[in-house]
Amino acid sequence: MKKILLAVASTVLACGIGVAAVGCGSNGDISVYNREDGSGTRDAFLELLGIESDELNTGVAQLSSTSAVIQGVAGDEKAIGYVSLGSVDTTVKALSVDGVTPTEETVADGSYKVSRPFELMYDETTLAENDLLSEFIEYLKSAEAQTIIAEEGYVSVVENAPAYTVPEADLSVTEIEASGSTSVGPLMTKLAEDFSAKVKDATGQEVQVTVSGGGSGQGIADANAGNTEIGMASKEVVDGEDVTNEDVTIYQLCADGIAVIVNNANPATNITLDNLKKVYTDKSLNWIDIGVEFPEEE
């Protein structure tokens, strides 16, 4: 019994060490951190970089929270990771991308590349007839909505937003629907809940903003055809090109910026979008391959 156990144990150990010795060296020295499959941040990051999920360099870890990624990158000199802009703290360093520093301003105006606008589309004629829709749009432009947008980690694009004034009388419409991008969906749901609660507090009326998915393309199509009151898209929507219905107005709800973070000991301050894409698709890449030279130890 003992001999068998010993034999099995030592064989496994020997194999393990052998594999460990051989296995090392095939991978580059960049510790790539990802979020887990299904995370909104990951989806956005991959979409912005144009990476398919099966060509992604899964790297050294797929962590299930923003704080875990920050903690991982903070403790790993050769690390690179990504988190939403609002959650970057001093334990890690956010890189500029193509020379543009990620700030609320550069995200809001779109000059920072790893960002995307959250666009809403609604029909002006519907807006005039539908008092719930016009009330909701007014709410979305208010200071209260901007607070929620910031709390959820997105960048508000409305300056000096006015406080929201609740309706005094009951609204004639009690239900509207927003459809489209599943990235905008969770934020929209939060906003809709807060809006409904505010209306209920003021007038006692139950109103509902239903949020459904389908993707940005669906959101644009729904807005054009008037299938739903609000179309949602998580990419830039071009009037006259994407939006073919002349009555449809495009309103930017907010912007979503993703910061590329590295360890504080990393000498890099900038990364090009091309190199970023390479890092996240090519396992064998080293920091030196993208021009980052770590100071010699000792």
Binding site: A9, G38, G72
Partner: protein, 306 residues
């Protein structure tokens, strides 16, 4: 059993309840029903879990495709890639790793506790193993993340979330199971076995390893297999330290994923409207089947004496 009317209340054997006075009979019947209900509830719970998982899982696996489910090399539920190969291999490797770490330490500790340990020290070590068993697994995960991961990062480079780290932490986690069960079975071997061996001229070590261990072999094996069961099903700690990468680790320094951690990390987002959540349930069913097999092996081993 002898029927003794005066002694029914205390010796109250289940077999003798019919003979006694009415008060005792009612009391005993009602208790008997209560116990039966409790047992039935428990059996029902086990059956419900098994049947629910299997009934849900089989059509899902059929829909994914049996071959694809077991041979696709990626586990990307968002892209409808449901290959559990890397999950199964990851689970197997981390379990083997845990055994490599845990079994030698556990068996040696059990030997020490059963044969060498002075009484005063035993009074300290024994509660310690119980404490080790009682620590919630997420705490082991944090311990791994804050203590073992940085060390592993120093040693092997990379992120530190890898097979080595996980094996080490899991090895510690299965220690209490291995120690207490194998110690008990070593103690259960009748003293004359040991005395006989020594009387025949064996040294203490020889008596222990050549006589006591073979005599207690089924108990020791049970200990190892139960430890293995714990390692296979462990979730909270592993999810924190394995890295959750759907690849077959090429070295001890590589991150990987297990069946349990894939379920835990996928559940937060999995949509019920497509195959995402059903696929996770199918993985749970695979995990359940593996654990059932292990339990069966333990039951077969238990038929032996020590």
């Amino acid at each position: 059993m002898q029927k003794n009317p005066e002694n029914t209340e205390t010796a109250g054997g289940v077999e003798s309840f019919a003979k006694v006075n009415v008060r005792g009979t009612v009391k005993e019947i009602s208790m008997k029903v209560l116990f039966a209900v409790a047992a039935a509830l428990f059996v029902l719970a086990v059956l419900t879990i098994c049947i629910y998982l299997l009934v849900d899982a089989i059509p899902t696996i059929g829909e994914i495709g049996f071959v694809k489910f077991f041979t696709d090399d990626r586990w990307l539920i968002r892209s409808e890639r449901f290959g559990i190969g890397s999950l199964v291999v990851g689970t197997a490797l981390s379990t083997v790793g845990a055994l490599v770490v845990g079994v030698p330490i556990g068996l040696m500790t059990a030997t020490f506790m059963a044969f060498y340990c002075p009484k005063w020290l035993y009074k300290i070590i024994k509660p310690l193993t119980n404490i080790l068993a009682g620590i919630p697994s997420i705490v082991y995960g944090f311990f791994g993340l804050t203590v073992i991961v940085p060390i592993s990062r120093e040693l092997l480079g990379g992120g530190g979330l890898n097979l080595l780290t996980t094996s080490f932490v899991l090895g510690i986690m299965i220690l209490p199971t291995i120690i207490s069960i194998s110690e008990n079975s070593l103690r259960a071997v009748p003293k004359p076995f040991y005395e006989g061996a020594v009387a025949l001229g064996a040294t203490k070590e020889r008596a222990i390893f050549r006589t006591m261990f073979p005599a207690a072999s089924s108990g020791v094996l049970t200990a190892i297999i139960l430890g293995m069961g714990r390692a296979i099903g462990e979730t909270a700690a592993i999810t924190l330290i394995c890295g959750n990468i759907d690849q077959i680790p090429g070295s001890l320094a590589d991150p990987f994923i297990t069946l349990a951690s894939a379920i835990a990390s996928g559940m937060g987002y999995a949509s019920t409207t497509n195959l995402e959540r059903p696929a996770l349930i199918a993985v749970a069913a695979v995990l359940l089947i593996i654990i059932l097999l292990i339990t069966t092996v333990v039951m077969l081993l238990k038929k032996k004496k020590y």
